[in-house]
C-alpha cells in the first residue's frame, strides 16, 4: 500500500512539473506550484518526515503562492512564448546535468534500507541517546535544536537576511511610508460576507494553533519555524480581508522589524550565555544545574527565538509586498 501511494504521489509530481513547462500564463503556473507544494508535503508524510511535511505545506502551499500571487497582481499574468534563438543551449545543459545525475545513481545505496550508509554512523546515535541526553521524544527537534543548533541559528539568520533584503529592495527611498490606501480594498467592501465572518472567527484559533505548534514541537511534529509561519498567516489573513492599514494598526512595521531582530538575538544570546558559563557556544548544559533540564530550557528558548523571528519576517515581507502593490495601484 505504501509503495502504491508513493508511486502515485511521485507520478503526480512529475505530471505537475511537466504541466508547468507546457502551460503559459502565470496564474495557472502559480496554482500548479501550490499543488506541487501540497503533493510534496503529502509525499513527505508517506516518507515518515512529518516535521518536513508540516513545513513544506506551510511554505510551499502557503507562503510561496501568496508571494507569487502578490507579485503577479503587479506584473500581470501574461507570459510570452520564449523566442527560441538559442533553444538548444538549455536542452544541452539540462541533458548534461541529467547525464551526471544518472552517473550518480550507478553506485548509489538502495533507499529504504536500514543498512544504508546514510542511516549508519551518525544518525543511530541521535536515536539512541536523545532520551538520555536531551529528554524529549521528537528526535528531529533534538537534532535541530541541540545537536545541530548552530545550523538552526544559521537558518534563523537566513530568514532574517531575507527580511532585510526585501526591505532594502522594496522600501522606497523617498519617504513614502506604508501606504495609507485610499482605494477601498475589494474584499473589505462587503463587511458581512461569508469570507469576512468565517475568517474573523478563525483568526483567534489560528493564533492559538500557532502557539500550540510552537510549544508542542518537542513532543510531536512542529517547532519554531512552522509556528512562526502559522502565526504570520493569521495576520496576513486579516490584512487580505481588511486592508493593509488595518493590520498595520495592529502591528506597525517598525515593531515587526524590532521583533525580528530580537528573535535572532534571543537565539544568539542563549549561545552567549553558554560562553559566559564557561562552555562552548550553544552548549545548553550551563542553563540549569541538571544538564537535561538545561537542554529543555535551551530548546524552548531558541525555538521561541526562531518562532518570533520567522513570524515577524514573514509579516514584514507581506507588508513590503502589499505596500508596494498599493503604491503602484494608486
Amino acid at each position: 500500500m505504501e509503495i502504491f501511494v508513493d508511486v502515485v504521489l511521485l507520478s503526480m509530481l512529475v505530471a505537475t512539473a511537466v504541466a508547468l513547462i507546457l502551460v503559459r500564463g502565470l496564474m495557472a503556473s502559480i496554482m500548479l506550484t501550490s499543488i506541487y507544494g501540497l503533493l510534496s508535503a503529502s509525499f513527505f508524510v508517506t516518507m515518515d518526515a512529518v516535521d518536513v511535511a508540516f513545513t513544506e505545506a506551510a511554505v510551499g502551499a502557503g507562503v510561496a503562492p501568496l508571494l507569487l500571487l502578490m507579485t503577479v497582481a503587479l506584473v500581470g499574468r501574461r507570459e510570452e512564448r520564449t523566442v527560441s534563438r538559442h533553444a538548444l543551449v538549455p536542452l544541452l545543459l539540462v541533458t548534461m546535468t541529467g547525464a551526471l545525475l544518472i552517473v550518480g545513481t550507478l553506485d548509489m545505496p538502495p533507499f529504504g534500507s536500514a543498512d544504508a550508509p546514510a542511516n549508519q554512523h551518525v544518525s543511530p546515535r541521535y536515536l539512541q541517546h536523545t532520551e538520555a541526553e536531551i529528554g524529549i521524544p521528537n528526535v528531529v527537534t533534538a537534532v535541530l535544536a541541540s545537536y545541530r543548533a548552530y545550523d538552526t541559528l544559521g537558518e534563523a539568520l537566513v530568514i532574517f537576511t531575507a527580511g532585510v533584503a526585501v526591505i532594502l529592495i522594496l522600501v522606497p527611498g523617498d519617504g513614502r511610508g506604508t501606504a495609507q490606501a485610499t482605494l477601498p480594498d475589494p474584499i473589505s467592501g462587503d463587511r458581512q460576507g461569508i469570507v469576512h465572518v468565517v475568517s474573523k472567527i478563525l483568526i483567534p484559533f489560528v493564533l492559538l494553533f500557532a502557539l500550540y505548534v510552537q510549544f508542542h514541537g518537542d513532543y510531536g511534529p512542529g517547532g519554531g519555524f512552522q509556528a512562526g509561519v502559522i502565526f504570520a498567516s493569521a495576520f496576513i489573513l486579516y490584512g487580505l480581508l481588511c486592508g493593509l492599514p488595518a493590520v498595520v494598526r495592529v502591528i506597525p512595521p517598525t515593531v515587526v522589524e524590532v521583533l525580528a531582530a530580537l528573535g535572532v538575538l534571543l537565539y544568539a544570546v542563549t549561545g552567549v550565555l553558554s560562553l559566559l558559563g564557561g562552555k562552548n557556544f550553544l552548549d545548553y548544559s550551563v542553563l540549569a544545574s541538571d544538564p537535561v533540564t538545561g537542554q529543555h530550557i535551551g530548546i524552548i528558548v531558541i525555538e521561541l527565538g526562531v518562532g518570533i523571528c520567522v513570524a515577524s519576517v514573514i509579516i514584514r515581507i507581506y507588508y513590503a509586498f502589499a505596500a508596494h502593490l498599493d503604491r503602484q495601484r494608486v
Binding site: L10, F43, V52, T130, P137, I169, F321
Partner: protein, 117 residues
Amino acid sequence: MDILSYFNYWVVMALMMLGFYIVIARGNLVKKLIGLNIFQTSVFILYISAGNVYDGAAPILAEGVEAYSNPLPHVLILTAIVVGIATTSVGLALVMRIYESYGTVEESEILEQDEAC
C-alpha cells in the same frame, strides 16, 4: 523494495531536470523563480528518500517502536526549505522592482531596453 528505491530516484532526477529546464529556458522572470522552486524541492525529495527506512516510523520516540526513519535528513531539509523560501521572496521583490523600472518581466524585452541605452 528495489522498484521503490530506484523509482524515487528516477523521479528526483526527472524533477531536477524539469525544474532546471524551466529556469534556463523560460524568459518570464516569475516563471524562472517557479522553476527554481521546483529544482530545489526535487533535492528535498532526494534527501528525504535517502533517509527513509522502509519499516520505520517517524523519528518521534514512542513505546513499542523499534525502527525509525533517519532524522538527520529531516533536519537538513527543514533548513533547506527555509533557504528556498528566503530565496524566492528576495527574487520576487527584485521582480517587482524590475517591473516598476522596465515595465516588463520578460527577459528578452529587458535585454532590448538595456541594449538600446
